[in-house]
Subunit: 411 residues, 2 copies
Amino acid sequence: MKVSQLFGKTLKDAPKDVENRTAAQMIRAGYIDQTGAGIYTFLPLGHRVLEKINTIIREEMDAIDGQEILMPALHPASLWKTTGRWDVDVMYKTKSQTGQDYGLGWTHEEIVTPLAKKFINSYKDLPKSVYQIQVKFRDEIRAKSGLLRTREFIMKDMYSFHSDNADLDKYYEKVKQAYVKILDRLGIKDKTYLTYASGGDFSKYSHEYQTLIEAGEDIIYVCDKCKLAVNNEIIDEIKGCPECGNKDLKEKKASETANIFKLGNRFTEAFGFKYLDKEGVQQIPVMGCYGFGPSRAMGTVAEALSDDKGLVWPDEIAPYRVYLLSIGEEAFQEASKLSDELEKAGVEVLFDDTNDSAGEKFARADLLGIPVRITVSPKTLETGGFEYKKRTGENSEIVPEDSIIEKIKNG
Amino acid sequence: MKVSQLFGKTLKDAPKDVENRTAAQMIRAGYIDQTGAGIYTFLPLGHRVLEKINTIIREEMDAIDGQEILMPALHPASLWKTTGRWDVDVMYKTKSQTGQDYGLGWTHEEIVTPLAKKFINSYKDLPKSVYQIQVKFRDEIRAKSGLLRTREFIMKDMYSFHSDNADLDKYYEKVKQAYVKILDRLGIKDKTYLTYASGGDFSKYSHEYQTLIEAGEDIIYVCDKCKLAVNNEIIDEIKGCPECGNKDLKEKKASETANIFKLGNRFTEAFGFKYLDKEGVQQIPVMGCYGFGPSRAMGTVAEALSDDKGLVWPDEIAPYRVYLLSIGEEAFQEASKLSDELEKAGVEVLFDDTNDSAGEKFARADLLGIPVRITVSPKTLETGGFEYKKRTGENSEIVPEDSIIEKIKNG
């Protein structure tokens, strides 16, 4: 892809009404655009990042036998009245021409539970786990922090169904491992803490994955020994590390990247969902639910890894692998050739073919945060090579023409 | 994937409240589930079909320089008031806790036009073409015909921006060619007619791609000579084939699979969107818009190709390539082995590992409409092979064990 052709331009100035540092960077860099307060468009660069995050999440959910489905966003009111949650204030509501009331989905227990009830009749049908990656809506009074708190967002929500709590517990641990793999691939594993939080109506505790970032809206208390944390909302009740009893917990600002809940029979009971056990006796299945928001994760990764110069994307979710730029006319021809060769070799490359100055191109490369920058200039051509620099590295090096692809692929 | 593990079961009976034949088949076969009138969930099988349709559309849009983005579904009212379309009755509306009014997107001119205005300032920035594959909502008074007329659906909508009408015309023809490729890959090219329709407020005519199916809600008049058609809504005005003047047009029932519109400056003007031409003079760009609904296309393909026994999916969008079943205990072991081997060879296989009778398994294979059925039985094992049958073929044949993978791959 050529920078001149890309839909979405690098803007000279940071947008004025965006207080979040990395949201401003993403807007300036042409990753996202603010359609309204808390409502964003993903431009081609941002869409590529989002899709790569989705792919990672899909792979890890598939690996633990999650089956992908797609549920609707428009929810008939009757389903929410069944569980007594129709009046939750974060739900947008709409009345149709036909008089029917609908809520816009901010979570999907009310859809997935009666759905699973149709297909799960016997212990032989259990366990089952389904997930979707889908748009969700929340009527937030204050949208803020860029992609961290929005009125419309993309969510991966998974729901599992089990014959009993022991089976749920086993699967719950599997999901924990899968989430650590996702966090690792997103480059935020080290900054993210498994955090004990309130279980709400459903169970004693739930678990959150809290990532340490300055823009975070949550306060957590970290136990350095166990790499665990406790959410502010239950710290008075729990009073120390739930694992080792350590009272010396450190207060930190963090943002919730994911959460997992044991729902027990809260929803299965409400929908009269039963299965026949081995003895032919009717039992109520128990559920778990597991959220991971790709669009919020994009914002969190940006917050956690970016610097003053701009964004820094980890290899697996960067929109392109290489940012290629040239200085001078002759170098432009060489860079064009290299761009074609890289594409042929399956390397995703964004070629800065603009007439901007070298300084502007270097600044854009830093702002966009693509992992590898390749510069072609009269100086590098003299040496028969190209300048190779990692976004996260201090130094650059000259790499000969015939080994540049290998260098890009293997670092 | 094993049938016993699949989320979504073959139902014994057709659902009672679904009047559309293939929607009933898709529900019985576990492809979709009706969450509410005109609101569906895509189960794992249906989700695979939908994703494959999306992939085909993406590939063909990328091939004509469409750039993928993702716009929001929640639209601030102010944007729709700018174009005077806030009061369109098919738009669901919601008022937030903050007092702000939103509409749910049923089309995206009101979002994409001010977006493009931010990035297109000069003739050098033109042309540009962006698309998204996204959920849309329509407050339909009567939802019917399964996936053909729903209140929530998936839509690919592309918007192009041009310096003048000549450039728009050129791109419009490119999109036509891309759409024919998509229709071909979906297996409905032969049944689909480029159809002249009303241009609405925007231009004299628009074009629809109308597919001949019994459940179709539209009436079109087909010119056999030109493989063109005219929509009922303009037949009185146009009175014959717009290409050859032929007055002997044939009346047919059809369903709109896609549509393309020249929007002219209807939206660019409303949003005060201008660019500087080569002479430095401000001009208003013109737009085209190009819809193709993946979820409706899924319903249309089902309607166009299925038979009384069940669904028939073309190779490129079938959820699996092979439906594998066995008869008897020994054959089950062999089938399990074959299933593993196929998966290793990269062949998508759905293995019917249930205890159902041979008759039930054959009926399920026909209902699900997967392109190739492989049967392992004592009889086939005696011959050292497997029974191979195409869903669309009358006859089966025995294929030796060592050439079965090649046979599946090459047909």
